[in-house]
Symmetry: C2
Subunit: 557 residues, 2 copies
């Protein structure tokens, strides 16, 4: 049954990495040399193996079941060929990529299914529940925390349920600003559909071009413009969830006091309760005006204090991103000054005590130009009063041009033996400084003790009145043959620090497999048993996305 | 054991009605006569019985249990005297008041307990769970949907757990704008504490002076200024819930992607999972500037369309409240024109086609006067463009002066044999018109068929980008001796209409006992079984607030 094709309306993605298969290299030899010097290593090429060399487990789906599944989704809706199994064997986290590139993913689904709608999903789940087949819901496959890892939870067989065919816009209620869509529609495709109608969803995660809206909902996604538009959770007005035992349908209402927030229970459930099949989403008027500003602060703590004030004054723009000294320095170092003006600008900043300082990018988006101008002026006035140096729009435009390119960069770094990983958290404003230092120290210490001293950078983004998200990026030479061990040591150290500081284990990457062990500390034992009780009710045979979200005991395996 | 006193720091409340025991009458003989004419009845006095005449069931708490409870909370923390049992026998809904005034509440707790903190609450719940004693968590006792009804759910004994002694502010993090409080603090007391520090919670439900913050959290309360400040749900950053089986503690973080929203599960749980003991709340800078505006629209639909635009343009003020024709007319009718200027103004409006039109009250609140002025100007410009007639600040100031007085008015109406009841819902903008007509028609029809034709009024408030809340008030002559039957008929008709229209059964009153039967339609059978599973996990013996929130089968009784 290697014959069936797979739907391919969405942009394709490298099987071993991110995005467009044939993008141009982003790192020049000079930059690579500079980076090698920083990391104390001569960088050498470590390209991925060939697709056909990837080793997969033997398929284990009963022929009768296979036939029954084809009856539900049609012949074109099933594929158990090598390529599709590899493409659904992993997400896009660091450990996923290490495994894929080596040709040794941790497993693979026995088959990939593409149901066309809610009813087909329900039928598939019912069949799988009856036969003990594990199901990994698969949207864009862009999870960076092992959210789509092919874990079987003790079940004999496993399918990936890919929502790519469920990509329709079901209705648009312009008066209420609500679009109802199938969950498999890609965020970029929806944004483009809305854009043609003068509207926007306002959700721009780094995975923008590939991620499915349903995946965003299932993982509590937060986009780059969340300070203005909020997270996906706030956009969701209603939804349908197909579970192995039935349907949980919540009508689109702007607000309700009818008991606990069931909508919020489905959001973030990461495929462990069922498959989100439809979503009613709040949309906005597309901004007619956009504008970027770059500013420098003398220190990260100056910037943090200023952003707290900005947000609490109601003046924060849609996008706000403050890099710490290291991130600012590295981005300047890796991008050679392009012009005499750049050189002069940098020298001037150094002379004024910003060396290199901390770069803040602001992105304003408003329906009206005059509103944008007013908000921009008020915001810049406040920030200047807090010690900011205004650097014009070019740093912001540069950021915007590269806003979706980090995952490509990570691929190139991996190809040169460099570990590139990110993690994020959120905390209250009064805790930002201590958390920033604590986590950066923990990562640095752990990398050193691995014998691979690294570069740890951070930016603050996603501003709230009470706090913000901290996003850490770290680079180090890979410990060849012990990549996962090296990663685990660093991940453990960072996570311990985060939870001990009272911050959250994840602000927008989700729990997946990588953070599941931390849920006991994140929500406490009572929180975990509450979630387990809920799962036992909606997914009594434990087939839904085993090994994700909850610590081991709960995965029905 | 009649001896112990009860804490009484909070303002006292009439045992048979609302608020201050000795408030002046609000309805003049003239107004009562006018109202009687509208309702086709001669209004006659039906005063409440005397407190000592209220009939309560015999106490049924085992002496050994009583001793054990006193060991936990101290002698001063228990009272099983007649007065306190009556004061905890009911909330402040229409059916509660009908029962209390007749001296026939539907039951009463065997004793009232006032624990001092989280640990005492935990100990009480553990003891009650071990002995099968039902527990009604009791904050301000202001529920209007039977949320504190003394139902036993099959258990032999029942206590009311009053949080009044848990009224401390535990900490204030000014940098992060987070105040951590015990759940029993009254909203007005907290607002006053914050006000002295230049801060505000921004939560102003009609029950403001009496309601406990924990009660607001447990019922998803939404205040009058929610369009600006949001609902209580958005203010809660972290919390502690004491359950019969343990503690669910969620740290205060501004946002998290760590799985389903457990915070949102506790919010709205209405005491059925446990007792919320502490809350970390987002606070804001107190507004230095406040301003009210009154405007008239020619029709409700004109006003609705304008408010949708206003909200979607980001220009809605903190308070917005649009009365329909009937509510506008009634409030004009019941308040005789006070001056020649009023008379002239009304005649002018009539001549311009506003007869009487629909009154919109806007309340602006901003930290800075110039921001307020700018927002006010933009908002009024937009509304004028949509057909609004600007009527100056006096209608708004009149509304503000009386914003907490409706429950007093209801008491006086009841004293004159007039049923006065409210209900609320929320829906998307495109559905507002049909829902408004449908619900008003249903109530009117039902009142007529009871032989008590009534007056049905509505206002739109609590604006969201995708929709708004509709708040209905209706008055009719009471069917003497069949008050509850009359009420049930109207409630049923309105609720059916609301759910058939895809709106929510409650926007901010909560579910309690009165809406429990509608939860199957509100969240569907899968939603109900999910909530039941959760309750079975955290409250396995079903002692927590039996008969509330969930339809019958789930109440552990």
């Amino acid at each position: 049954m290697d014959s069936s094709g797979s739907p391919a309306e969405s942009p394709s993605m490298r099987w071993w990495g991110w995005g467009e298969p044939n993008g141009p290299p982003l790192l020049s030899p000079t930059t690579l040399a500079r980076l090698g010097a920083i990391l104390g290593a001569t960088l050498q090429r470590r390209p991925p193996v060939a697709l056909e060399a990837v080793r997969l487990p033997a398929r284990s789906l009963e022929p009768s079941l296979d036939r029954a599944l084809r009856q539900i989704v049609g012949e074109a809706g099933v594929n158990d060929g090598h390529d599709e199994r590899v493409r659904h064997a992993a997400g896009r986290g660091y450990t996923d990529l290490v495994g894929l590139r080596a040709g040794l993913p941790e497993g693979a689904p026995d088959a990939v299914l593409w149901p066309a709608d809610h009813d087909q999903v329900r039928a598939v789940l019912e069949l799988c529940a009856a036969h003990g087949v594990a199901v990994v819901p698969f949207g864009g496959g862009t999870s960076v925390v092992g959210g789509v890892a092919p874990l079987r939870g003790g079940h004999g067989a496993l399918i990936a349920l890919d929502t790519r065919r469920m990509d329709g816009v079901l209705s648009l209620d312009r008066t209420s600003r609500i679009a109802t869509v199938q969950s498999g529609i890609r965020v970029a495709a929806l944004e483009s559909w809305l854009g043609a109608r003068g509207l926007t969803l306002g959700h721009f995660p780094q995975s923008f071009h590939y991620v499915a809206v349903g995946g965003c909902a299932a993982t509590r996604s937060v986009g780059q413009a969340s300070t203005g538009y909020g997270s996906i959770a706030g956009m969701i007005q209603g939804l349908r969830l197909a579970t192995p035992t039935g349907e949980l349908a919540l009508a689109a209402v702007p607000a309700s006091a009818a008991g606990p927030g069931l909508r919020e229970l489905v959001i973030g459930s990461e495929g462990t309760l069922g498959v989100i099949t439809e979503l009613a989403l709040k949309v906005r008027l597309a901004p007619a005006s956009r504008g970027f500003e770059g500013l420098f602060f003398r220190s990260f703590s100056d910037g943090v204090r200023a952003l707290a004030l900005l947000t609490q004054s109601g003046l924060a723009p849609a996008i706000a991103r403050l890099s710490d000294e290291r991130e600012t320095e590295t981005s300047l170092l890796l991008s050679a000054p392009r012009s005499m003006r750049d050189r002069v600008g940098r020298a001037y900043l150094r002379a004024r005590g910003y060396r290199p300082g901390c770069l803040l990018i602001l992105g304003f988006e408003e329906a009206e130009a005059k509103v944008l101008a007013a908000r921009r002026q008020s915001a810049l006035e406040l920030l200047r009063g807090e010690g900011a140096f205004l650097a014009g729009s070019s740093p912001g435009r540069a950021w915007a041009a590269a806003r979706y390119s980090a995952p490509y960069l990570r691929d190139e770094l991996l190809t040169h033996g460099v570990m590139a990983e990110t993690l994020e958290t959120a905390t209250r404003w009064s805790n930002v400084g201590a958390l920033h230092r604590g986590v950066a120290d923990a990562i640095e210490r752990e990398l050193r003790s691995c014998g691979t001293p690294g570069l740890v950078m951070c930016h603050l983004s996603h501003l709230y009145e009470t706090g913000a998200s901290l996003y850490f990026t770290f680079l180090a030479r890979q410990l060849e043959g012990r990549e996962l061990e090296q990663w685990r040591a660093v991940k453990w150290a960072a996570s311990e620090t985060i939870l001990s500081a009272g911050a959250t284990i994840t602000h927008h990457h989700g729990v997946g497999r990588d953070h599941a062990a931390w849920m006991n500390r994140e929500v406490g034992p009572q929180g975990v048993v509450a979630l387990r009780a809920l799962k036992a009710q909606l997914d009594p045979t434990g087939i839904m996305n085993p090994g994700k979200l909850l610590p081991d005991a709960s995965n029905g395996g």
